[in-house]
Amino acid sequence: MTEPKKLKVATCSLAGCFGCHMSLLDIDEKLFELVKVVEFDRSPITDIKHCGPCDIGIVEGGVCNAENVHVLKEFRKNCRILVAMGACAINGGIPAMRNNVDLWDCFQEVYHYGIGLENGQIPNDPELPLPFDKVHPINEVVRIDYFLPGCPPPADAIWKFLTDLAAGREPKLDYEMLHYD
């Protein structure tokens, strides 16, 4: 008897706070059920650095720098279904609050005028991801198949969403999982 083929899942956090990943872990003991049906590829959970072909890619956070674009394109290229998870991936969220501040002013404040700084310099190392002038939602850079809202989405919503997908159903979230007041 062969085991049913597991779904391959990759996850990443771009301009986010890892809160959505924490919410994913927050499904608690159901994690055991989850790993019966899914196998994680590239993810902060596995520490695999690059993903291979996957069934589902889950992206937390918006796009704030060039590296984010490379990661996002890698996910789009490899994942059959790409999901934007949480407010930052969908709208830019908290990091996008910097969109109202000029990038020059941001750098000046951080590297020149911040409290306690002396002779500050703006770093120019090629290893550092180069920031965009604005933070963008990920659907402005690649095609996204599903949007899972929330800040973060509740653990139950993530569970329902993933198990629906794993079972081959169109994911559907009840109203209670989508409203936050």
């Binding site: 060039a66 674009v69 703006i122 180069l130 920031p131």
Partner: protein, 599 residues
Amino acid sequence: MSDHDVCDLPGIVARWHHDPANLVQILRDVQESCGTIPSDTLDQLAKLLNVPRVRIEATASFYSFFHAESHGAYEILFSDNVIDQMAGKAELKQYLCERLWLEPRKLSEDGLVYVDDTADIGLADQAPAMLVNGFAVPALDKARLDLVAELIRVRKPLAEWPPMLFEIPDNIRQPGPLTGEAFAPGAALKATLSRGTDATLAEIDSANLRGRGGAGFKTATKWASCRKAEGEAHYVVCNADEGEPGTFKDRVLLNSHADLVFEGMTVCARVIGARQGLLYLRGEYRNLLEKLESVLATRREKGLLGRNILGYVDADGDFDFDIEIHLGAGAYICGEESALIESLEGKPGKPRNRPPFPDRCGYRNQPTVVNNVETFACAAKIAERGGAWFAAMGTPQSAGSKLISVSGDCQRPGIYEYSFGVTVRQILIDCGAEDAHAVQVSGPSGTCISFREFDRRIAFEDLATAGAFMVFSRERDMFEVARNFTHFFAHESCGFCTPCRVGTSLLRNTMDKLAAGKGSAYDMNEMKNIMHILRGMAHCGLGHTAANPVVQTMEKFPEAYERRLKRLDFEPAFDLDGALQTARLITGRDDEWAHLADE
């Protein structure tokens, strides 16, 4: 230096009876006399009116024509409907800015003049047009702008500008019962009083008059229901917030047939038992205000308004009724009747939950009839000449005549009055638009029809319309027409409900993405999804119809979209490499990782 006087705040507040419900009018007067509504004025108004400052601020920040920062002695707003654009508005605006040495949306260095855009100002037959300190100047060309620039340069007060700049012809090309026949003020009222209110309502009913604002609700039903509703007072409100781009028939009715409109309101007042009426005149028609006030004054002198109208006394008591004019302040949404009532009550123009409808709970939460300008004009004619006369015109479901505001690619733009049931083709022949390719009927929220559908008819059962009829020739790009409309809706969404506030912005952004040559089939699908959300979830008609122009042009002129699609799959919404340029400059980097290659 300023054209504006010192603001007499207590005087303005007193003129509006210290009533916070008149806040929009108070702010208008402040804006008109000071040129701005400064922040400390809001504090003073809060004290004078004894309401919280946030209430004042909510209203002051809602309307386009109110602003806290100075726009100088001369504020110039170019009408930005697609018809104005087709008539060369962008080029003329740039020309004026160059003549005045300034940039749009930026007060000139000397604090004298400010130039910006505004939504359609009801002069599509005389496009391009603009507002100077709220007063309309039509038919712009370089010669007229030279004159304007010179007048501004020598700082001539607006009151001393040559009147010919502000002359606005009616352009009635085809007159009919409303626009072509003489009307003796008082005739409809006398007929109403001798016939009695029940019989007058029966005439309106048998005339089969339906609302001319576009929705086509039966007028007699509205009046009867309002009449029956209990309340401390009943009100008659005339909706002259003609904001639908491309419509200008109410401008013409109010300019030349105001007696007919006011008489229709008075007939309605008699039927429903109202003592007060309000005309909500869109701010863009500020130039009509003095004229309308003088028509009202004449009617009071003749005993057609005020106490004891026509000396009439009956068992129900005297017939007292008067009309007050309220001005809007640049908000399309106030054409929606419940938003209009909110505005009349001094609040931001956000639509109410309906039901209850205004006939039971309207102005000051009392039974209120809200009708379009043209509906009241029709009602006056019916009261005078009877329901059978009216019902004989038009089609069984759409009785009477309809004013059509024709603009765009035709030889004779202007007002055409037809019996309902006229074909689009007939109108196009009459206005001289032989090479018409498309017509936008009833404005952006209405219906876009292609040359294949020119045999359709203007009638509630086919093409319902508030009157706009914008003609586009073969040379016009229907994608750009729809894009203009998405910008309009995104600007005019009142922001109350999320589907509309966000949905209209997403539509605008996606259309801009396509216009920038970054479109894909994905974006086309997204716009269809947004349409479903808007139709199903928006709070009012603005949101329900905001996607119409996109969806209809997509369906009828697919080639206009297809040639803008770069890929079938997906294309980023912005220039990825270009968005790194600022950071490259800041860091001085130009390495491989500081660039994103286009694939």
